[in-house]
Amino acid sequence: MAEYYHSVVLDEALCMGCTNCIKRCPTEAIRVHNGKARIFNEKCIDCGECVRTCPYHAKVAQTDSLDILANYKYTIALPAPTLYMQYDLKFTRQHVVTALKMLGFDYIYEVARGAEIVTAVTDRYMEAHQDGLPMISSACPAIVRLLQARFPSLLPRLLPVKSPMEISAMHARREFCAKNPGVEPGEVGVFFISPCAAKMTAVRNPLELEHSNVDGVLSIKSVYFKLLKQMAKLKAPEDFLQAGYQGVRWASVGGEAMALKTQNVLSVDGIQNVVRIFEQLEDDKLDDVDFIEACACTGGCLGGPLTVENLYVARNRQRRHKELMPTVLEPVQVDEMQNCMFEIYPQHLDVTTLDADRTEAIKKLRRMNEICEELPKLDCGACGAPSCRALSEDIVREKASLTDCVFVLRQKVRDLAREMMILEGFMPSDGQNDKEN
Protein backbone atom coordinates (compact mmCIF):
# COMPACT_ATOMS: atom_id res chain seq x y z
CA MET A 1 0.00 0.00 0.00
CA ALA A 2 1.21 3.51 -0.81
CA GLU A 3 2.16 5.59 2.16
CA TYR A 4 -0.90 7.04 3.76
CA TYR A 5 -1.16 10.80 3.77
CA HIS A 6 -2.29 12.46 6.99
CA SER A 7 -3.35 16.02 7.50
CA VAL A 8 -2.53 15.85 11.21
CA VAL A 9 1.21 16.31 11.75
CA LEU A 10 3.56 17.30 14.53
CA ASP A 11 5.46 20.57 14.76
CA GLU A 12 8.54 19.17 16.49
CA ALA A 13 9.84 22.53 17.67
CA LEU A 14 6.69 23.09 19.72
CA CYS A 15 6.37 19.56 21.15
CA MET A 16 7.35 19.36 24.82
CA GLY A 17 7.13 15.59 24.96
CA CYS A 18 4.28 15.62 27.48
CA THR A 19 1.70 12.84 27.60
CA ASN A 20 -1.52 14.75 26.90
CA CYS A 21 -1.93 13.61 23.32
CA ILE A 22 -0.98 9.96 23.79
CA LYS A 23 -3.65 9.60 26.46
CA ARG A 24 -6.42 11.11 24.38
CA CYS A 25 -5.77 9.43 21.04
CA PRO A 26 -8.70 7.04 20.42
CA THR A 27 -6.63 4.64 18.32
CA GLU A 28 -3.46 4.79 20.48
CA ALA A 29 -1.58 6.08 17.45
CA ILE A 30 0.85 8.40 19.28
CA ARG A 31 4.01 7.62 21.24
CA VAL A 32 6.55 9.93 22.81
CA HIS A 33 10.10 8.89 21.94
CA ASN A 34 13.19 10.90 22.81
CA GLY A 35 11.04 13.71 24.11
CA LYS A 36 8.96 14.16 20.97
CA ALA A 37 5.59 12.82 19.98
CA ARG A 38 5.42 10.47 16.99
CA ILE A 39 2.24 9.62 15.10
CA PHE A 40 1.94 6.09 13.74
CA ASN A 41 0.53 6.85 10.32
CA GLU A 42 -1.17 3.52 9.86
CA LYS A 43 -3.17 3.95 13.06
CA CYS A 44 -4.09 7.65 12.80
CA ILE A 45 -7.67 8.34 11.70
CA ASP A 46 -7.26 12.14 11.54
CA CYS A 47 -9.93 12.75 14.14
CA GLY A 48 -8.10 15.85 15.33
CA GLU A 49 -8.42 14.94 19.01
CA CYS A 50 -4.68 15.63 19.52
CA VAL A 51 -4.94 18.97 17.72
CA ARG A 52 -7.53 19.94 20.30
CA THR A 53 -5.70 18.45 23.27
CA CYS A 54 -2.12 19.68 22.78
CA PRO A 55 -1.50 22.57 25.17
CA TYR A 56 1.50 23.72 23.10
CA HIS A 57 -0.29 23.65 19.73
CA ALA A 58 2.35 21.27 18.43
CA LYS A 59 -0.22 19.13 16.62
CA VAL A 60 -1.37 20.86 13.52
CA ALA A 61 -3.73 20.03 10.70
CA GLN A 62 -2.19 20.81 7.35
CA THR A 63 -4.61 22.64 5.11
CA ASP A 64 -4.21 24.79 2.02
CA SER A 65 -3.81 28.57 2.04
CA LEU A 66 -5.76 31.05 -0.05
CA ASP A 67 -2.72 31.37 -2.33
CA ILE A 68 -3.79 28.13 -3.98
CA LEU A 69 -6.62 30.05 -5.67
CA ALA A 70 -4.02 31.57 -8.01
CA ASN A 71 -3.43 28.15 -9.57
CA TYR A 72 -6.87 28.15 -11.18
CA LYS A 73 -8.56 30.36 -13.72
CA TYR A 74 -11.87 30.03 -11.90
CA THR A 75 -12.55 29.13 -8.30
CA ILE A 76 -15.53 27.82 -6.37
CA ALA A 77 -15.95 27.82 -2.58
CA LEU A 78 -17.88 25.07 -0.82
CA PRO A 79 -18.73 26.45 2.63
CA ALA A 80 -19.45 23.78 5.24
CA PRO A 81 -22.69 24.60 7.11
CA THR A 82 -20.55 25.02 10.23
CA LEU A 83 -19.02 28.19 8.76
CA TYR A 84 -22.26 30.15 9.14
CA MET A 85 -22.44 29.46 12.87
CA GLN A 86 -19.02 30.98 13.51
CA TYR A 87 -20.41 34.52 13.23
CA ASP A 88 -22.83 36.66 15.16
CA LEU A 89 -26.36 36.41 13.80
CA LYS A 90 -26.23 39.88 12.34
CA PHE A 91 -24.03 38.27 9.70
CA THR A 92 -26.47 36.07 7.83
CA ARG A 93 -25.72 33.20 5.51
CA GLN A 94 -26.09 35.68 2.66
CA HIS A 95 -23.37 37.81 4.25
CA VAL A 96 -20.98 34.86 4.54
CA VAL A 97 -21.59 33.72 0.99
CA THR A 98 -21.13 37.24 -0.42
CA ALA A 99 -17.96 37.73 1.62
CA LEU A 100 -16.54 34.52 0.14
CA LYS A 101 -17.01 36.01 -3.31
CA MET A 102 -15.28 39.20 -2.16
CA LEU A 103 -12.31 37.04 -1.17
CA GLY A 104 -11.97 36.05 -4.81
CA PHE A 105 -14.20 33.03 -5.38
CA ASP A 106 -16.19 33.13 -8.60
CA TYR A 107 -18.98 30.87 -7.46
CA ILE A 108 -20.35 29.39 -4.25
CA TYR A 109 -22.01 26.04 -3.75
CA GLU A 110 -23.39 25.46 -0.27
CA VAL A 111 -22.42 22.07 1.15
CA ALA A 112 -25.75 22.27 2.97
CA ARG A 113 -27.33 21.67 -0.44
CA GLY A 114 -25.06 18.69 -1.04
CA ALA A 115 -26.22 17.42 2.34
CA GLU A 116 -29.85 17.66 1.25
CA ILE A 117 -29.04 15.61 -1.83
CA VAL A 118 -27.33 13.01 0.39
CA THR A 119 -30.47 12.81 2.53
CA ALA A 120 -32.68 12.15 -0.48
CA VAL A 121 -30.30 9.52 -1.85
CA THR A 122 -30.01 7.88 1.58
CA ASP A 123 -33.80 7.60 1.92
CA ARG A 124 -33.98 5.97 -1.48
CA TYR A 125 -31.07 3.61 -0.80
CA MET A 126 -32.40 2.49 2.58
CA GLU A 127 -35.84 1.76 1.16
CA ALA A 128 -34.22 -0.68 -1.25
CA HIS A 129 -31.88 -2.23 1.33
CA GLN A 130 -34.05 -2.97 4.33
CA ASP A 131 -32.15 -6.15 5.15
CA GLY A 132 -28.84 -4.37 5.73
CA LEU A 133 -30.07 -2.08 8.53
CA PRO A 134 -28.86 -0.32 10.53
CA MET A 135 -26.72 1.58 8.09
CA ILE A 136 -23.88 3.74 9.35
CA SER A 137 -23.48 7.27 7.99
CA SER A 138 -20.40 7.79 5.82
CA ALA A 139 -20.37 11.58 6.14
CA CYS A 140 -17.64 11.81 8.81
CA PRO A 141 -14.32 10.67 7.30
CA ALA A 142 -12.73 9.99 10.70
CA ILE A 143 -15.55 7.54 11.40
CA VAL A 144 -15.01 5.76 8.10
CA ARG A 145 -11.32 5.39 8.97
CA LEU A 146 -12.26 4.15 12.44
CA LEU A 147 -14.40 1.44 10.86
CA GLN A 148 -11.55 0.44 8.53
CA ALA A 149 -9.03 0.20 11.35
CA ARG A 150 -11.05 -1.03 14.29
CA PHE A 151 -14.48 -2.30 13.23
CA PRO A 152 -13.93 -4.04 9.87
CA SER A 153 -16.92 -6.32 10.43
CA LEU A 154 -19.14 -3.23 10.30
CA LEU A 155 -17.85 -2.02 6.90
CA PRO A 156 -20.73 -3.73 5.05
CA ARG A 157 -23.08 -1.47 7.03
CA LEU A 158 -21.39 1.71 5.81
CA LEU A 159 -23.83 3.78 3.77
CA PRO A 160 -22.28 3.77 0.27
CA VAL A 161 -23.36 7.34 -0.47
CA LYS A 162 -20.65 9.92 -1.14
CA SER A 163 -20.14 12.69 1.38
CA PRO A 164 -21.96 16.04 1.09
CA MET A 165 -18.56 17.61 0.26
CA GLU A 166 -17.96 15.33 -2.74
CA ILE A 167 -21.51 15.63 -4.04
CA SER A 168 -21.38 19.41 -3.65
CA ALA A 169 -18.08 19.57 -5.53
CA MET A 170 -19.48 17.48 -8.36
CA HIS A 171 -22.58 19.67 -8.71
CA ALA A 172 -20.67 22.92 -8.20
CA ARG A 173 -18.25 22.37 -11.06
CA ARG A 174 -20.99 21.18 -13.37
CA GLU A 175 -23.31 24.10 -12.57
CA PHE A 176 -20.55 26.65 -12.98
CA CYS A 177 -19.50 25.27 -16.35
CA ALA A 178 -23.13 25.16 -17.52
CA LYS A 179 -23.68 28.79 -16.52
CA ASN A 180 -20.45 29.93 -18.13
CA PRO A 181 -20.18 28.45 -21.63
CA GLY A 182 -16.62 27.94 -22.74
CA VAL A 183 -15.25 27.18 -19.28
CA GLU A 184 -13.49 23.81 -19.12
CA PRO A 185 -14.00 21.74 -15.93
CA GLY A 186 -10.21 21.52 -15.58
CA GLU A 187 -9.91 25.30 -15.32
CA VAL A 188 -12.08 25.36 -12.22
CA GLY A 189 -10.64 24.88 -8.73
CA VAL A 190 -13.12 23.73 -6.08
CA PHE A 191 -12.30 24.47 -2.42
CA PHE A 192 -13.94 23.17 0.71
CA ILE A 193 -14.08 25.51 3.73
CA SER A 194 -13.58 22.96 6.48
CA PRO A 195 -14.16 22.61 10.22
CA CYS A 196 -12.23 19.37 10.14
CA ALA A 197 -8.77 17.88 9.64
CA ALA A 198 -10.04 14.56 8.32
CA LYS A 199 -11.64 16.26 5.31
CA MET A 200 -8.18 17.33 4.16
CA THR A 201 -7.07 13.72 4.27
CA ALA A 202 -10.29 12.67 2.56
CA VAL A 203 -9.48 14.99 -0.34
CA ARG A 204 -5.90 13.74 -0.74
CA ASN A 205 -6.79 10.07 -0.11
CA PRO A 206 -10.48 9.80 -0.94
CA LEU A 207 -12.30 6.96 0.75
CA GLU A 208 -15.15 6.51 -1.66
CA LEU A 209 -13.76 7.41 -5.08
CA GLU A 210 -10.46 7.38 -6.97
CA HIS A 211 -9.93 11.14 -7.27
CA SER A 212 -11.70 13.75 -5.21
CA ASN A 213 -13.69 16.45 -6.98
CA VAL A 214 -12.28 18.89 -4.44
CA ASP A 215 -8.99 20.62 -5.29
CA GLY A 216 -8.12 22.06 -1.90
CA VAL A 217 -9.24 22.51 1.68
CA LEU A 218 -9.15 25.77 3.61
CA SER A 219 -9.68 25.66 7.35
CA ILE A 220 -12.46 27.75 8.87
CA LYS A 221 -9.81 29.12 11.26
CA SER A 222 -7.71 30.46 8.40
CA VAL A 223 -10.54 32.31 6.62
CA TYR A 224 -12.44 33.42 9.72
CA PHE A 225 -10.95 36.92 10.07
CA LYS A 226 -10.63 37.51 6.36
CA LEU A 227 -14.35 36.92 5.96
CA LEU A 228 -15.19 38.99 9.01
CA LYS A 229 -13.35 41.97 7.55
CA GLN A 230 -15.26 41.65 4.29
CA MET A 231 -18.59 41.30 6.04
CA ALA A 232 -17.96 44.41 8.10
CA LYS A 233 -17.67 46.39 4.84
CA LEU A 234 -20.64 44.70 3.28
CA LYS A 235 -23.76 46.84 2.81
CA ALA A 236 -26.14 44.69 0.79
CA PRO A 237 -25.39 40.99 0.64
CA GLU A 238 -26.42 38.97 -2.39
CA ASP A 239 -29.65 37.12 -2.10
CA PHE A 240 -28.18 33.73 -2.78
CA LEU A 241 -29.30 30.61 -0.96
CA GLN A 242 -29.34 27.04 -2.15
CA ALA A 243 -30.34 25.07 0.94
CA GLY A 244 -32.96 25.09 3.67
CA TYR A 245 -32.52 24.50 7.37
CA GLN A 246 -32.63 20.76 6.73
CA GLY A 247 -29.24 20.96 5.05
CA VAL A 248 -27.79 23.65 7.31
CA ARG A 249 -28.48 21.71 10.47
CA TRP A 250 -26.09 18.94 9.40
CA ALA A 251 -23.53 21.12 11.19
CA SER A 252 -24.71 19.58 14.47
CA VAL A 253 -24.94 15.95 15.45
CA GLY A 254 -28.51 14.81 14.85
CA GLY A 255 -28.96 16.99 11.79
CA GLU A 256 -28.29 14.22 9.33
CA ALA A 257 -30.51 11.71 11.11
CA MET A 258 -33.40 14.14 11.68
CA ALA A 259 -33.67 14.82 7.96
CA LEU A 260 -34.29 11.16 7.08
CA LYS A 261 -37.69 9.59 6.43
CA THR A 262 -37.15 6.95 9.07
CA GLN A 263 -36.95 8.32 12.55
CA ASN A 264 -35.73 5.09 14.08
CA VAL A 265 -32.28 6.60 14.19
CA LEU A 266 -29.41 6.85 16.60
CA SER A 267 -27.08 9.85 16.66
CA VAL A 268 -23.82 9.58 18.55
CA ASP A 269 -21.02 12.10 18.88
CA GLY A 270 -17.55 12.10 20.43
CA ILE A 271 -15.18 9.41 19.25
CA GLN A 272 -15.18 7.44 22.51
CA ASN A 273 -18.98 7.30 22.54
CA VAL A 274 -18.94 6.18 18.93
CA VAL A 275 -16.54 3.35 19.82
CA ARG A 276 -18.97 2.13 22.51
CA ILE A 277 -21.92 2.18 20.13
CA PHE A 278 -19.95 0.35 17.44
CA GLU A 279 -18.97 -2.32 19.96
CA GLN A 280 -22.66 -2.92 20.68
CA LEU A 281 -23.47 -2.95 17.01
CA GLU A 282 -20.71 -5.48 16.41
CA ASP A 283 -22.41 -7.85 18.84
CA ASP A 284 -25.73 -7.53 16.95
CA LYS A 285 -27.22 -5.63 19.86
CA LEU A 286 -28.54 -2.68 17.88
CA ASP A 287 -30.29 -4.44 15.04
CA ASP A 288 -33.62 -2.74 15.83
CA VAL A 289 -32.26 0.65 14.65
CA ASP A 290 -32.43 1.79 11.01
CA PHE A 291 -29.67 4.35 10.84
CA ILE A 292 -26.65 5.38 12.88
CA GLU A 293 -25.28 8.87 12.53
CA ALA A 294 -21.81 8.96 14.09
CA CYS A 295 -19.68 12.08 14.45
CA ALA A 296 -16.08 11.88 15.65
CA CYS A 297 -16.28 15.34 17.22
CA THR A 298 -18.40 16.13 20.24
CA GLY A 299 -21.37 18.10 18.98
CA GLY A 300 -20.74 17.11 15.37
CA CYS A 301 -18.97 19.38 12.87
CA LEU A 302 -19.66 22.46 15.03
CA GLY A 303 -17.16 20.89 17.45
CA GLY A 304 -14.56 20.38 14.71
CA PRO A 305 -10.90 21.07 15.56
CA LEU A 306 -10.55 23.76 12.88
CA THR A 307 -13.50 25.88 14.01
CA VAL A 308 -13.23 29.18 15.86
CA GLU A 309 -16.43 29.55 17.86
CA ASN A 310 -17.16 27.57 20.99
CA LEU A 311 -19.38 24.57 20.23
CA TYR A 312 -22.17 25.55 22.60
CA VAL A 313 -22.33 29.14 21.42
CA ALA A 314 -22.38 27.92 17.83
CA ARG A 315 -25.12 25.44 18.60
CA ASN A 316 -27.37 28.12 19.97
CA ARG A 317 -26.76 30.22 16.87
CA GLN A 318 -27.72 27.28 14.72
CA ARG A 319 -31.06 27.02 16.50
CA ARG A 320 -31.64 30.72 15.90
CA HIS A 321 -30.73 30.32 12.22
CA LYS A 322 -33.78 28.12 11.95
CA GLU A 323 -35.99 31.21 12.22
CA LEU A 324 -34.23 32.81 9.27
CA MET A 325 -34.91 30.16 6.66
CA PRO A 326 -37.43 27.56 5.54
CA THR A 327 -36.79 23.94 6.52
CA VAL A 328 -36.82 22.98 2.87
CA LEU A 329 -35.95 25.62 0.30
CA GLU A 330 -36.25 23.45 -2.76
CA PRO A 331 -37.10 19.72 -2.66
CA VAL A 332 -34.39 17.45 -4.05
CA GLN A 333 -35.15 15.42 -7.15
CA VAL A 334 -32.95 12.34 -7.17
CA ASP A 335 -32.26 11.97 -10.85
CA GLU A 336 -28.71 10.64 -10.84
CA MET A 337 -28.53 8.21 -7.98
CA GLN A 338 -25.55 6.37 -9.49
CA ASN A 339 -23.27 9.42 -9.43
CA CYS A 340 -23.91 9.79 -5.72
CA MET A 341 -22.90 6.25 -4.79
CA PHE A 342 -19.44 5.05 -3.74
CA GLU A 343 -17.14 4.30 -6.66
CA ILE A 344 -14.80 2.28 -4.47
CA TYR A 345 -15.44 0.64 -1.13
CA PRO A 346 -13.26 1.29 1.91
CA GLN A 347 -11.42 -1.88 2.91
CA HIS A 348 -10.21 -3.27 6.21
CA LEU A 349 -6.88 -1.71 7.25
CA ASP A 350 -5.35 -4.27 9.54
CA VAL A 351 -3.36 -2.47 12.23
CA THR A 352 -3.86 -4.95 15.07
CA THR A 353 -2.46 -8.30 13.93
CA LEU A 354 0.79 -9.07 15.75
CA ASP A 355 2.14 -11.48 13.14
CA ALA A 356 0.92 -12.78 9.81
CA ASP A 357 1.70 -16.32 11.01
CA ARG A 358 -0.97 -17.25 13.51
CA THR A 359 1.23 -19.50 15.62
CA GLU A 360 3.76 -16.67 15.88
CA ALA A 361 0.97 -14.23 16.67
CA ILE A 362 -0.19 -16.42 19.55
CA LYS A 363 3.36 -16.62 20.91
CA LYS A 364 3.71 -12.86 20.68
CA LEU A 365 0.40 -12.29 22.37
CA ARG A 366 1.40 -14.64 25.19
CA ARG A 367 4.61 -12.69 25.61
CA MET A 368 2.69 -9.46 25.50
CA ASN A 369 0.44 -10.69 28.31
CA GLU A 370 3.47 -11.80 30.35
CA ILE A 371 5.20 -8.45 29.88
CA CYS A 372 2.02 -6.65 30.86
CA GLU A 373 1.96 -8.63 34.12
CA GLU A 374 5.42 -7.27 34.96
CA LEU A 375 4.34 -3.67 34.42
CA PRO A 376 2.82 -1.59 37.23
CA LYS A 377 -0.54 -1.05 35.43
CA LEU A 378 -0.59 2.59 36.38
CA ASP A 379 -0.88 3.67 32.75
CA CYS A 380 1.20 6.70 33.70
CA GLY A 381 2.47 7.33 30.19
CA ALA A 382 6.01 8.10 31.34
CA CYS A 383 7.37 5.48 28.92
CA GLY A 384 5.76 7.34 26.03
CA ALA A 385 3.00 4.78 25.43
CA PRO A 386 -0.57 5.51 26.49
CA SER A 387 -0.93 2.43 28.72
CA CYS A 388 1.05 -0.49 30.15
CA ARG A 389 -0.75 -2.72 27.69
CA ALA A 390 0.29 -0.50 24.77
CA LEU A 391 3.91 -0.58 25.98
CA SER A 392 3.87 -4.36 26.16
CA GLU A 393 2.59 -4.46 22.59
CA ASP A 394 5.33 -2.04 21.49
CA ILE A 395 7.94 -4.28 23.16
CA VAL A 396 6.64 -7.36 21.34
CA ARG A 397 6.68 -5.39 18.09
CA GLU A 398 10.28 -4.39 18.92
CA LYS A 399 9.47 -0.71 19.02
CA ALA A 400 10.23 -0.26 22.72
CA SER A 401 12.05 -2.00 25.56
CA LEU A 402 11.02 -3.06 29.04
CA THR A 403 13.31 -0.52 30.68
CA ASP A 404 11.34 2.29 29.04
CA CYS A 405 9.09 1.76 32.05
CA VAL A 406 10.51 3.91 34.88
CA PHE A 407 9.19 1.51 37.52
CA VAL A 408 10.82 -1.51 35.93
CA LEU A 409 14.01 0.51 35.53
CA ARG A 410 13.96 1.56 39.19
CA GLN A 411 13.46 -2.05 40.25
CA LYS A 412 16.34 -3.17 38.05
CA VAL A 413 18.63 -0.50 39.48
CA ARG A 414 17.60 -1.55 42.99
CA ASP A 415 18.23 -5.24 42.21
CA LEU A 416 21.58 -4.34 40.72
CA ALA A 417 22.54 -2.30 43.79
CA ARG A 418 21.57 -5.17 46.06
CA GLU A 419 23.58 -7.61 43.99
CA MET A 420 26.59 -5.30 44.16
CA MET A 421 26.27 -5.15 47.94
CA ILE A 422 26.26 -8.92 48.10
CA LEU A 423 29.19 -9.20 45.70
CA GLU A 424 31.02 -6.60 47.72
CA GLY A 425 30.81 -8.98 50.70
CA PHE A 426 32.69 -11.59 48.70
CA MET A 427 35.47 -9.18 47.74
CA PRO A 428 38.89 -10.39 48.87
CA SER A 429 40.21 -8.08 51.56
CA ASP A 430 42.92 -5.63 50.53
CA GLY A 431 44.43 -5.71 53.98
CA GLN A 432 43.75 -2.07 54.93
CA ASN A 433 40.32 -2.69 56.44
CA ASP A 434 41.80 -5.50 58.53
CA LYS A 435 44.13 -3.08 60.27
CA GLU A 436 41.21 -0.83 61.28
CA ASN A 437 39.36 -3.79 62.74
Binding site: S153, T352, R358, T359, M368
Partner: protein, 143 residues
Protein backbone atom coordinates in the same frame (compact mmCIF):
# COMPACT_ATOMS: atom_id res chain seq x y z
CA UNK B 1 6.85 -27.18 25.89
CA UNK B 2 6.26 -26.13 22.29
CA UNK B 3 2.58 -27.08 22.28
CA UNK B 4 1.51 -25.04 25.28
CA UNK B 5 3.17 -21.97 23.81
CA UNK B 6 0.62 -22.04 21.05
CA UNK B 7 -2.41 -21.80 23.30
CA UNK B 8 -3.88 -18.69 24.80
CA UNK B 9 -6.10 -19.22 27.79
CA UNK B 10 -8.39 -16.55 29.17
CA UNK B 11 -10.65 -16.72 32.17
CA UNK B 12 -13.47 -14.39 33.16
CA UNK B 13 -15.99 -14.51 35.95
CA UNK B 14 -19.49 -13.71 34.84
CA UNK B 15 -21.03 -11.65 37.57
CA UNK B 16 -24.76 -11.03 37.83
CA UNK B 17 -24.29 -8.32 40.44
CA UNK B 18 -23.01 -5.91 37.83
CA UNK B 19 -25.09 -6.15 34.73
CA UNK B 20 -23.17 -3.39 32.98
CA UNK B 21 -20.18 -5.76 32.95
CA UNK B 22 -22.12 -8.37 30.98
CA UNK B 23 -20.47 -8.73 27.62
CA UNK B 24 -17.13 -7.50 28.93
CA UNK B 25 -15.59 -10.93 28.48
CA UNK B 26 -16.77 -11.18 24.87
CA UNK B 27 -15.42 -7.70 24.25
CA UNK B 28 -12.00 -8.68 25.64
CA UNK B 29 -11.99 -11.84 23.52
CA UNK B 30 -12.77 -9.74 20.44
CA UNK B 31 -9.70 -7.62 21.10
CA UNK B 32 -7.52 -10.69 21.59
CA UNK B 33 -8.68 -12.30 18.36
CA UNK B 34 -8.07 -9.18 16.31
CA UNK B 35 -4.42 -9.27 17.50
CA UNK B 36 -4.11 -12.75 16.06
CA UNK B 37 -5.27 -11.78 12.60
CA UNK B 38 -8.50 -13.77 12.89
CA UNK B 39 -10.90 -12.58 10.17
CA UNK B 40 -13.52 -9.99 11.21
CA UNK B 41 -16.34 -12.41 10.30
CA UNK B 42 -14.96 -15.10 12.61
CA UNK B 43 -14.41 -12.58 15.41
CA UNK B 44 -18.00 -11.52 15.05
CA UNK B 45 -19.31 -15.09 15.22
CA UNK B 46 -17.35 -15.78 18.39
CA UNK B 47 -18.41 -12.52 20.00
CA UNK B 48 -22.11 -13.02 19.33
CA UNK B 49 -22.20 -16.67 20.42
CA UNK B 50 -20.21 -15.89 23.53
CA UNK B 51 -22.34 -12.90 24.45
CA UNK B 52 -25.49 -15.04 24.18
CA UNK B 53 -23.95 -17.65 26.47
CA UNK B 54 -22.85 -15.01 28.97
CA UNK B 55 -26.31 -13.47 29.08
CA UNK B 56 -27.84 -16.93 29.59
CA UNK B 57 -25.57 -17.54 32.55
CA UNK B 58 -26.63 -14.22 34.06
CA UNK B 59 -30.36 -14.64 33.42
CA UNK B 60 -30.79 -18.29 34.36
CA UNK B 61 -27.96 -19.01 36.79
CA UNK B 62 -26.92 -15.79 38.53
CA UNK B 63 -23.61 -15.82 36.71
CA UNK B 64 -20.80 -18.29 36.16
CA UNK B 65 -17.44 -18.41 34.44
CA UNK B 66 -16.05 -18.14 30.93
CA UNK B 67 -12.93 -20.05 29.90
CA UNK B 68 -11.47 -19.42 26.50
CA UNK B 69 -8.82 -21.40 24.72
CA UNK B 70 -7.35 -20.11 21.49
CA UNK B 71 -5.09 -22.23 19.28
CA UNK B 72 -3.98 -21.58 15.71
CA UNK B 73 -6.83 -23.84 14.56
CA UNK B 74 -9.80 -22.93 16.69
CA UNK B 75 -11.41 -20.89 19.43
CA UNK B 76 -13.06 -22.80 22.24
CA UNK B 77 -15.33 -20.99 24.67
CA UNK B 78 -16.62 -22.80 27.74
CA UNK B 79 -19.32 -21.05 29.74
CA UNK B 80 -20.19 -22.85 32.93
CA UNK B 81 -22.73 -22.07 35.62
CA UNK B 82 -24.24 -23.61 38.72
CA UNK B 83 -27.78 -22.79 37.77
CA UNK B 84 -30.93 -24.94 37.67
CA UNK B 85 -29.94 -26.87 34.53
CA UNK B 86 -31.98 -27.20 31.34
CA UNK B 87 -34.89 -29.68 31.83
CA UNK B 88 -35.80 -30.05 28.16
CA UNK B 89 -32.86 -29.62 25.80
CA UNK B 90 -34.89 -30.26 22.67
CA UNK B 91 -37.32 -27.48 23.51
CA UNK B 92 -34.51 -25.14 24.52
CA UNK B 93 -32.96 -25.51 21.08
CA UNK B 94 -36.17 -24.35 19.37
CA UNK B 95 -36.03 -20.72 18.26
CA UNK B 96 -38.42 -18.68 20.37
CA UNK B 97 -38.62 -21.13 23.27
CA UNK B 98 -37.76 -19.46 26.57
CA UNK B 99 -38.19 -20.05 30.26
CA UNK B 100 -37.11 -16.52 31.14
CA UNK B 101 -39.37 -14.77 33.60
CA UNK B 102 -41.63 -11.90 32.62
CA UNK B 103 -39.38 -9.41 34.40
CA UNK B 104 -36.38 -10.53 32.37
CA UNK B 105 -38.38 -10.31 29.15
CA UNK B 106 -39.41 -6.80 30.01
CA UNK B 107 -35.72 -5.94 29.98
CA UNK B 108 -35.53 -7.09 26.39
CA UNK B 109 -33.99 -10.49 27.04
CA UNK B 110 -35.42 -13.98 26.94
CA UNK B 111 -36.51 -13.97 23.31
CA UNK B 112 -35.68 -17.66 23.11
CA UNK B 113 -32.88 -17.13 20.61
CA UNK B 114 -29.93 -17.78 22.92
CA UNK B 115 -29.08 -21.41 22.24
CA UNK B 116 -30.27 -21.36 18.60
CA UNK B 117 -28.02 -18.34 17.95
CA UNK B 118 -25.08 -20.01 19.67
CA UNK B 119 -25.53 -23.01 17.39
CA UNK B 120 -25.94 -20.84 14.34
CA UNK B 121 -22.72 -18.88 14.89
CA UNK B 122 -20.44 -21.76 15.91
CA UNK B 123 -19.01 -24.83 14.20
CA UNK B 124 -19.54 -27.10 17.16
CA UNK B 125 -21.65 -26.75 20.27
CA UNK B 126 -21.94 -29.07 23.25
CA UNK B 127 -24.29 -28.60 26.16
CA UNK B 128 -23.71 -30.53 29.34
CA UNK B 129 -26.52 -29.93 31.79
CA UNK B 130 -27.65 -31.55 35.05
CA UNK B 131 -30.84 -30.51 36.85
CA UNK B 132 -29.96 -28.75 40.07
CA UNK B 133 -26.24 -28.85 39.36
CA UNK B 134 -25.60 -26.54 36.45
CA UNK B 135 -24.92 -26.15 32.77
CA UNK B 136 -21.72 -26.05 30.76
CA UNK B 137 -21.90 -24.82 27.19
CA UNK B 138 -18.90 -25.46 24.96
CA UNK B 139 -18.69 -23.40 21.78
CA UNK B 140 -16.11 -24.09 19.11
CA UNK B 141 -15.36 -21.86 16.16
CA UNK B 142 -12.77 -23.01 13.65
CA UNK B 143 -10.35 -20.40 12.41
Amino acid sequence: MELSEEIIRLHYDINDEDFSAAGEASSAVKKTLSRLGVSPETVKRVAIAMYEAEINAVIHADGGAADIEITPQQIKVVISDRGPGIPNMEAAMQPGFSTATESVRELGFGAGMGLPNMKRYTDEMYVDTKIGVGTTVTLIVKI
